[in-house]
Amino acid sequence: MLRTIGSRLLQVPIALLGMTLIVFLFVTASGDPVLLLADPGASDADLEAMRRELGFDRPWIVQYLSFLGDALTGDFGTSFRHRLPAMDFVLGQLPATLELAAASLVIATAISIPLGITAARNKGKPIDLVATMVAVLGQSMPVFWLGMLLILAFAVALPIFPVGGRGTLAHLVLPAVTLGWYFNALITRMVRSTMLETLNQNYVRTARAKGVPERRVVMRHAFRNAQVPIITVWGLQAGNLLTGTVVAETVFSWPGLGRASVAAVLARDIPVVMASVFVFTVIFLVINLLVDLSYYLIDPRIRQ
């Protein structure tokens, strides 16, 4: 177990180096940022001076190394568009994204675990059919379309919630449901199938035979063993969560990092792109590390 965590930790710097290098190459090669930054009327000499001032006249490898050197001290440069330190800008956008992601995971977990358990205990009954439909539909609907349907239903036809933006709790509901729906589908499916498997195990039969109350059989004996695959899904979905955040933020004009990072790539705002790639990769790695650690907490067999 310690070895797994050790090798995960070793992956952190490699993944950060790899990711920043790839994105840096793509973004620098994708066009001259100076052309986008300068006034339309700027002369060639002005452009050249600007390039020199921002360091774009150097070879890309020198630019990358100087980026790395500065990044190690926490300096990601100044955003071209927002005229603020890039990392400050990114960290300023982060709370909105974390709020949305956390709310959607809470919704997904609160629905999927009871639904999956009930479905598995009533296999073939109507509630099982409902759970299966939720799972199948949730995995087949594009996140942006679900978001728009919710806007149509609950912001246009029945104006209960705002169409977009961030502020009150009412603003959070539709985007969080949109993003949570997909994870709800995945976790429901996973809980149902692993519970079906564990409920048939000998130790569950033994527990029932010795008269353990059904509630305790389900929660302590069966569900505890179903947790490992569920957590694996969480870890594997960290990347999809990010994709979903970008889309959900766009649909609901949610002022978060997902939308800001797409805008930064399209505007070639290199410092903001690099800072957000860095932050996203770190979050992603932390989630995976937490997933590994929770295996350790849940499954005593892994501790040995």
């Binding site: 090669a29 995995q139 087949s140 246009v156």
Partner: protein, 277 residues
Amino acid sequence: MVSLLKTAKGAIGATVLAIAVLAALFADVLAPLDPTLQNLLARLRPPMWRDDAGQLYVLGTDALGRDLLSRVIHGARVSIMVAIGAVLVSGVIGTTIGLFAGYYRGMASAIVMRFMDIQLSIPMILFAIAWIAFFGAGLLSIIIVISAWGWVQYARLARSIVLSLKEREFVQASVVLGARDGRIILGHILPNLISSMIVMATLQLGEAVLLESALSFLGMGVGPPTATWGSIVSDGRSYIDTAWWIVVFPGAAITLLVLGANFLGDALRDHLDPHHN
């Protein structure tokens, strides 16, 4: 194959996929109108609207007066081409790499495994956005991005199957008989690998359709005037309070296609891989 189509899931999935492929192939014949033909006098008309010349607009028109049904039919092209292209590219590359990484366990195999771990620890949406910002948003570019994201899944599955196949008696027997690696791989390993890879590919079709439509929706798909389902929904976003149909129909098309691919994938898995039950 026949028994596959007898299951409800298999039959529904195969039918939906067949309809989408036919729509993509024969879009020019099936679409009632040119999908790029604008008519600014007939903007945002509701479904089943008929113009003075008697032309029926079954799904209504969009903000430029284009026929929505024709655009949705033509939109199947991009989705189908991207999905099939990406599944083929990532499936072939991933299966080959996974096969060799499982069969030859040495330095190269270890490096490939590390590389896959690292790739899985990179958020793909950022890679996709950066790639598209660099190479532009053509059909090929999107196929490459989705393949670069998808091949790891095939490689991991192929490798784990090859590792267990190598221990099986029929493989061991041909090693003892002195068969060369090429013969063992092509004659014994690959045939036993292929059905799992086909199941994986079918399930990945749906994921590829979803990813393509998300990129299109974000404005990073195949650009205008080509109709893609994601971009039609995105266009309809500004008119959501007056023209619901622009958003609803192309999204329903995406959902149906993905649902069909998932159904067929599930049915194939039950059919080809009895261990999975």
